[in-house]
């Protein structure tokens, strides 16, 4: 079966006074039907911009320079604004990292949910009163689905009347209102406490199973990926450096950056063992030299790394952007 989302050679740049920042440089992403794909990377790695590009949310001074974004076989870049609007929100939905700033503080939760249904739900009755009633019922049903108690009365409340975890649920509810085929969750739990984070992530997993949708989970937490994602893609400085089934990538990472990330997080199971920070910093994305972008921080670098490195197949389902990958690196 063909992939639900197939991004090829995506390049998104931002024109700034200091120069052109290439935030996403030649990224390929494939999201299969029903799977949960984890996107891991640090700030500035391009993980959020990649999916903002998919959603057509990149605004000036940013622009998509090159690439194809095929969703269900259609290139989203070739659609008109009107056609794109019909896809966005209905077939692909996105939740933002910070629910407090993403929700409109001046509108009730019910109004914000109704907005999505009005725009996209074609099954609603035409008559005004019946329509209003149907929207209200559907909204309450969705709030119930994401685990908000007494949804009927909470529809008339404002975002500030909810806790952080509840606001994140409301944003997920709005995203799920039209039962999308693909949910892009951008750091859905970064601002939340661990006990609440566990609730929200389980909610996303449950709903994914129930509705059979695909999920892209953007995160910086490898633990979250290990527990919730089928496959994982690791990004560094605007490029994909490694991709593969989660258990394989975490069990035996191919790229030195992935190894570095795994070695630098304190792990409860490995208590007593030292952590090994990755020295140095992420390179400036303006005028990057045409070499491996991890070169300056890599422990295994050689002179051959001073040439551009392409992503290559290193296993049946695995890819990595490293000349040493696939060889014995242990």
């Amino acid at each position: 079966m063909s992939a639900l989302l197939d991004v090829k050679g995506l390049r998104t740049v931002f024109e700034t006074r200091a120069g052109t920042v290439c935030a996403v440089d030649g990224v390929d992403v494939e999201v299969r039907r029903g799977e949960c794909l984890g996107i891991v990377g640090e700030s500035g790695s391009g993980k959020s911009v990649t999916f903002a590009s998919v959603m057509g949310l990149v605004r000036s001074p940013g622009r998509i320079d090159a690439g194809e974004i095929l969703f269900d076989g259609r290139d989203l870049r070739k659609l008109s604004q009107k056609e794109l609007r019909a896809v966005r929100g209905r077939d692909i939905a996105m939740t933002m990292q910070d629910a407090l700033t993403a929700l409109n503080p001046a509108l009730t939760v019910g109004v914000q949910l109704a907005e999505v249904l009005e725009a996209h739900d074609e099954t609603l009755p035409r008559g005004r009163r019946a329509r209003t009633r149907a929207i209200r019922e559907r909204s309450a049903e969705i709030l119930g689905l994401v685990g908000i108690p007494s949804p009927d009365s909470r529809l008339s409340q404002y975002p500030h009347e909810f806790s952080g975890g509840m606001r994140q649920r409301i944003m997920i509810a709005i995203a799920l209102a039209c039962r999308p085929k693909l949910l892009i969750a951008d750091e859905p739990t970064t601002a939340l406490d661990v006990t609440i984070q566990a609730q929200v992530l389980e909610l996303i997993s449950d709903i994914r199973a129930k509705l059979g949708m695909s999920v892209v989970l953007i995160t910086h937490d490898l633990g979250v990926v290990a527990e919730h994602c089928d496959r994982v893609m690791v990004m560094y400085a605007g490029q994909v450096v490694e991709e593969g089934p989660t258990t394989e990538v975490i069990g035996s990472p191919s790229h030195p950056y992935t190894r570095g990330l795994l070695g630098s997080i304190p792990r409860l199971a490995l208590r007593g063992q030292p952590i090994h920070p990755i020295e140095g910093q992420v390179p400036d994305l303006i005028d990057l030299p045409a070499q491996c972008r991890f070169y300056s921080r890599c422990a295994d670098r050689t002179d051959a790394c001073l040439t551009p490195i392409a992503v290559r197949q290193v296993g049946p389902h695995r890819k990595a952007r490293c000349i040493l990958a696939g060889e014995d690196t242990q």
């Binding site: 566990a198 609730q199 910086h220 795994l262 792990r267 409860l268 199971a269 490995l270 952590i275 090994h276």
Partner: protein, 337 residues
């Protein structure tokens, strides 16, 4: 490591009382009270790292600040190296603060954007009269700035010219330049990316060894606390519910809250652990904390007694303490894996 406590906190309480409008006062309304920290006692021994863990709003930062009297405690006593901090007059308090410093969570908000690095890091030396001349001050600033991993030629730059990790290094330099004995580390790595987080953790550990420091390390990340702390205290709604040596608490947590906290941590090594405890609901408001045991509204093991009677912290041996009515029933939310 000596067993003599460097810092002793006894029954520390911090309440924030809300302001009333004139109309409310005329109507004799009672002001709202946020019970941020209630009756907390703990000791930090010389040379150790005490990890303080809890979710947002549990009062862990307030506790750290009340210890330094950055927020004036409502009641209770703090003793530092034999001297009672809570009753010191302003001049004596300033002197003792040379020895008790703090590193803040947000490296963006905690540095004055209009001062250069040299001014920010050198200020404690000026305040405490620790430099003999301008040259001496500059030399001391350069020494500490190089120690924490920046270069002397970066001294005249402003905070916005640095990355998050570098700013946190500047914050560390500012805390260390007065040669303190004790540092409250208030989530110093929470705002940083993983690879940078590890650099800062290692730097803090090296500095502790070199300078013989003692840390109260506040964090919401159990893995970080498990990595660096000697002992750990778990806070929930302003109270310490469990405390003890880090190995004992993390390998055999006794309080149901600690157990659920640990099972909620997404784990690279044991993905999909079936033993997850689902805590339902949110943290109750500290404006109106639940009666009895404050955890009873979310506790899967709660019984009637928990709703009416607050549990008292019990000694479980080896310095491990926990406050729960059902401690001795050997119940565990975590199935043995």
């Amino acid at each position: 490591m000596s067993t003599e406590p460097l810092l002793k906190v006894e029954n520390l309480t911090k309440h924030y009382v809300g302001r009333l409008s004139l109309a409310q006062r005329l109507a004799r309304e009672k002001p709202s009270v946020v019970r941020a920290v209630s009756d907390v006692s703990l000791e930090v021994r010389k040379g150790e790292i005490l990890g303080l863990i809890g979710e947002s709003g549990c009062g862990k930062s307030t506790l750290g600040r009340a210890i330094l009297r950055l927020h004036e405690p409502t009641s209770g006593r703090v003793t530092f190296d034999g001297q009672e901090v809570t009753t010191l007059d302003p001049m004596a308090l300033k002197d003792i603060r040379r020895r008790m410093q703090i590193i803040f969570q947000d490296p963006y908000a905690s540095l004055n954007p209009r001062r250069t690095v040299a001014e920010i890091v050198g200020l404690p030396l000026k305040l405490h009269d620790l430099a003999t001349s301008a040259d001496d001050l500059r030399a001391k600033v350069i020494a500490i700035i190089e120690r924490i991993g920046l270069k002397a030629n970066q001294l005249d730059r402003y905070p916005h010219q640095f990355s998050g990790g570098q700013r946190q290094r500047i914050g560390i330099a500012r805390a260390l330049i007065s040669n303190p004995d004790f540092i409250v580390c208030d989530e110093p790595v929470s705002a940083l990316d993983v690879s940078i987080q590890a650099q800062i953790i290692e730097l803090l550990l090296e500095l502790k060894r070199e300078m013989g420091l003692t840390y109260l390390f506040i964090s919401h990340d159990i893995s970080v606390i498990g990595y660096l702390a000697d002992r750990v205290a778990v806070m929930y709604l302003g109270e310490i519910v469990e405390m003890g040596p880090v190995d004992a608490v993390l390998s055999a947590p006794r309080h149901p809250y600690t157990q659920s906290l640990m099972s909620a941590v997404p784990d690279v090594d044991h993905p999909g652990h079936a033993q997850r405890v689902r805590l339902t609901g949110d943290l109750p408001s500290p404006l109106d904390p639940p009666s009895g045991c404050k955890f009873h509204t979310r506790c899967p093991l709660a019984v009637d007694r928990c709703r009416s009677e607050a549990p008292i912290s019990e000694d479980l041996g080896g310095g491990h303490r926990a406050a729960c009515h059902r401690l001795h029933e050997k119940l565990s939310l975590l199935e043995t894996a």
